[in-house]
C-alpha cells in the first residue's frame, strides 16, 4: 500500500528532529574535546578555531583517570558476569519449572526495582563496615563490595529478561536432551544456552551499562583506590570546570569503548528484547 504524502513528510521531519536531538550532545562532546582552551572558555562556537589533541594528553595528568578506568572495568565486568550467571540459573528455574513460590519470587525480585537506593545505602554501608569489623572481609571501600552491590542492581530485570527469553525456546529441545539422558543442568548448558545466546548478550549489555554508570553507591562505598570512573569524572568535572575541553575529552575516551561494544552487539539487544521483555 502506498504511503500518503503527509506521512512521508512527517516521517522525514520527525526523524530529522530526533536525529538532531540525539546528535547535538554527541557532537558537543566530540567537537569540544579537540578545541583549544580559549574556545571553551568563551561563547560557544560550532567549529574549533583550530584542532588540538592536547586535551587528550592533559586529562591523564590532572586526575588518575587510568586507575579509575581499571576499577570501573573490573567492577563492571565482574558484576556483569556474576549477574548474568545468577540470572541464567534463576531464569531457567522460573521458565522451566512450576513450583510453589514461583510467582512470589518473580514479583518479589522485580519489586526490589522500586526500592529507593537511598533507603538501603546507609544500612548497606553499616553492614559492610561491620562485616569488616567482625570477619575481616573488606567490603567497604573494596571492589568486591561494589561488585556484589552492582550485580544485585541488574539482577532482577536480568532474571525477567532471561526467563522471558527461555520461554520462547521450545521445550521440545529440553525434552529431546532429557531423552538422551542429560540432566537439567546439562540440558541448560548444552542445549538451552546456545540457543539463548542473543538474549544472554542483551542481558549482559544491560548489566554492564547499569554498573558502569552508577554514581550514588560508588561515591559512598569506594575510596581513592577503588574509585570508579563515574565518581572520578564527576569530581574531575567539578574541579576543572574551566577546562571543559579536557572534561569532554575524558568523557569521549570513557564513552567510546562502551558505545562501540554496544553498537557491535546491539542487534542482539533488539532480538533479545523482542523475545524476552515482550513475552514476560
Amino acid at each position: 500500500m502506498r504511503e500518503p504524502r503527509w506521512l512521508r513528510w512527517a516521517r522525514v521531519l520527525i526523524l530529522t528532529a530526533l536525529t538532531v536531538f540525539t546528535v547535538v550532545p554527541l557532537y558537543v562532546m566530540a567537537g569540544s574535546s579537540v578545541k583549544p582552551l580559549v574556545d571553551v572558555q568563551g561563547a560557544f562556537r560550532w567549529a574549533p578555531s583550530r584542532i588540538t589533541f592536547q586535551p587528550f594528553v592533559d586529562m591523564w595528568t590532572t586526575v588518575p583517570l587510568a586507575r579509575y578506568f581499571v576499577n570501573s572495568l573490573i567492577v563492571s565486568l565482574a558484576a556483569t558476569v556474576c549477574s548474568v550467571t545468577l540470572a541464567i540459573l534463576a531464569g531457567y528455574a522460573v521458565s522451566r519449572y512450576r513450583f510453589a513460590g514461583r510467582g512470589t519470587f518473580l514479583t518479589g525480585v522485580l519489586s526490589t526495582q522500586m526500592f529507593p537506593g537511598i533507603l538501603f545505602l546507609l544500612p548497606l554501608f553499616l553492614i559492610f563496615v561491620n562485616i569488616d569489623r567482625y570477619t575481616g572481609i573488606q567490603l567497604y571501600a573494596s571492589r568486591l563490595g561494589l561488585t556484589i552491590t552492582y550485580l544485585t542492581f541488574s539482577l532482577p530485570f536480568a532474571i525477567w529478561l532471561v526467563a522471558g527469553y527461555f520461554d520462547t525456546i521450545p521445550r521440545e529441545l529440553d525434552e529431546a536432551a532429557r531423552v538422551d539422558g542429560a540432566g537439567p543442568i546439562r540440558t541448560l548448558v548444552r542445549v538451552v544456552l546456545p540457543v539463548a545466546a542473543p538474549g544472554i548478550v542483551a542481558v549482559a549489555i544491560y548489566a554492564f551499562i547499569t554498573a558502569w554508570g552508577e554514581v550514588l553507591f560508588a561515591s559512598v562505598l569506594t575510596d581513592e583506590n577503588t574509585r570508579t570512573l563515574a565518581v572520578g569524572l564527576r569530581a574531575y568535572a567539578n574541579q576543572a570546570q574551566v577546562y571543559w575541553n579536557q572534561v569532554m575529552a575524558a568523557s569521549l575516551v570513557i564513552s567510546a569503548p562502551v558505545v562501540l561494544a554496544f553498537l557491535a552487539l546491539q542487534r542482539y539487544l533488539v532480538q533479545g528484547l523482542t523475545a524476552g521483555a515482550v513475552k514476560s
Binding site: P4, T22, V24, V28, L89, G117, L124, V215
Partner: protein
C-alpha cells in the same frame, strides 16, 4: 523454603506449565525430593544476593527510621534511643519546614517524572512506528537512536551540564544568539529553568530505552494483522489505533512501570547535572541524601525513604492491579 518441601501438589518434573504425569514413575522418595528441590537450588544464589543487598538493608533502614540516629549515636548505633514515629511525624508535618520541603521535593519529582515519562514514551513510540517500515538508512537511524542509552550516564550528563552553561554553553548560544528564540542568556542550572533542564536530560537519556522496547514490541506483532488491515484499506492512523497500540499494550504495561520507577528514583542525573540541585529541581532522592548524609541525621533520612517506598509500593500495586483487571476485561 521449608514449606516448599511439603508441596506435593506441585509437579516439578514436568517442563512447562501443563500438568502431565511425571516422566519417571516410581522414583525413590529421596530422588523425587531432590528433583523437587532443584528449582530452589537454582534460585538460591540470586535470592541470597537480593536478600543481602536489598531486603536486609531495607529492613535495617526501616528499623533505623524508628531511631534517633544522629551523629551522637553513629559510633554505637545500637544505642540510639527509640524514637517511635517521631521521625515520621516531622517528615509528614506539612506545616513544619522539614515536611513542607519534603512535599515540595515530592511534587518536583512527580513533575519531572510525569513529564519525562510522557516525553520518553511519545518519542519512543513515534520513532519505533516511523521506523517500522523498512527504508534506506533505517538500520543506521535505529543504531544512532540507541547511542544515548549506551553512553555512560555520567559522561552524557556532564556533556549536558556543559551545554547548559550560561556563557559557554551551546543552548544559550543557539537559542539566544543564533535562532533568537529567547532574549538574553538565562541560567539553566539555577532557578526555575533547572526543572526544564532536568526533564530534557532525563528524556534524552531514557527515550532510547522506550524506543528499543517498543521496537521489540512492534516486531512481535504478527504481520498478517497488518496485511488484513491493508486489504480493508485502513490508513496509517487507523492501523495505529486498531492494531499497533492494542498489540503494544502488554509491552507498554511493563515499560511505563519500569521507566516510572527508574526516573522517580533517579539520583544520578540531577546529582551530576547540578551537584546540589536548586529548589526547582530538588528531586526526592537527592533531597533525602542531603537530609541524611550531610547532617548525619540518618533516622530522619530513613523515615523519609520509607515514606517514599510506601508511595512507590502503592502506585505500583495499583498500577499492576488495574492492568490485570483491564486484561481480564479485554
Amino acid at each position: 523454603m521449608s514449606r516448599t518441601v511439603a508441596a506435593p501438589a506441585v509437579d516439578t518434573s514436568t517442563p512447562g506449565g501443563e500438568r502431565r504425569p511425571p516422566a519417571h514413575h516410581g522414583g525413590r522418595a529421596g530422588r523425587r525430593f531432590r528433583r523437587a528441590a532443584l528449582p530452589y537450588v537454582l534460585l538460591i544464589p540470586a535470592l541470597v544476593f537480593e536478600l543481602a543487598i536489598h531486603i536486609v538493608p531495607m529492613l535495617v533502614g526501616a528499623w533505623m527510621s524508628l531511631l534517633h540516629l544522629t551523629q551522637f549515636f553513629i559510633r554505637n548505633w545500637t544505642a540510639a534511643p527509640y524514637a517511635g514515629l517521631a521521625n515520621y511525624r516531622v517528615a509528614v508535618d506539612l506545616n513544619g519546614p522539614v515536611g513542607s520541603d519534603l512535599l515540595h521535593s515530592f511534587f518536583v519529582t512527580a513533575g519531572v517524572t510525569s513529564l519525562s515519562l510522557a516525553g520518553c514514551w511519545l518519542l519512543g513510540l513515534t520513532a519505533a512506528v516511523l521506523l517500522q517500515k523498512s527504508f534506506r538508512g533505517r538500520a543506521a537511524l535505529r543504531t544512532l537512536f540507541l547511542v544515548p542509552y549506551a553512553l555512560p550516564l555520567f559522561t552524557a550528563v556532564i556533556t549536558w551540564r556543559f551545554m547548559f552553561q550560561r556563557d559557554t554553553g551551546i543552548v544559550n548560544a543557539v537559542l539566544g544568539d543564533q535562532l533568537h528564540i529567547m532574549s538574553g542568556h538565562p541560567f539553566w542550572l539555577l532557578g526555575g529553568r533547572s526543572f526544564v533542564a532536568l526533564v530534557i536530560v532525563e528524556i534524552w537519556r531514557q527515550w532510547p530505552f522506550a524506543f528499543l522496547t517498543l521496537t521489540a514490541g512492534l516486531q512481535s506483532i504478527p504481520t498478517d494483522l497488518y496485511e488484513a488491515a491493508d486489504i480493508d484499506g485502513a490508513g496509517f492512523m487507523r492501523r495505529l489505533r486498531t492494531i499497533t497500540l492494542p498489540m503494544l499494550r502488554p509491552v507498554n504495561g511493563v515499560l511505563l512501570l519500569v521507566l516510572f520507577l527508574w526516573i522517580f528514583n533517579d539520583f544520578n542525573t540531577a546529582y551530576i547535572l547540578f551537584d546540589r540541585p536548586p529548589g526547582a529541581a530538588d528531586v526526592i532522592s537527592i533531597h533525602i541524601y542531603n537530609a541524611s548524609f550531610l547532617t548525619w541525621n540518618f533516622g530522619q533520612g530513613s523515615a523519609m525513604s520509607v515514606l517514599l517506598l510506601g508511595f512507590l509500593l502503592i502506585v505500583t500495586t495499583a498500577y499492576l492491579l488495574a492492568g490485570r483487571r483491564r486484561l481480564r476485561h479485554a
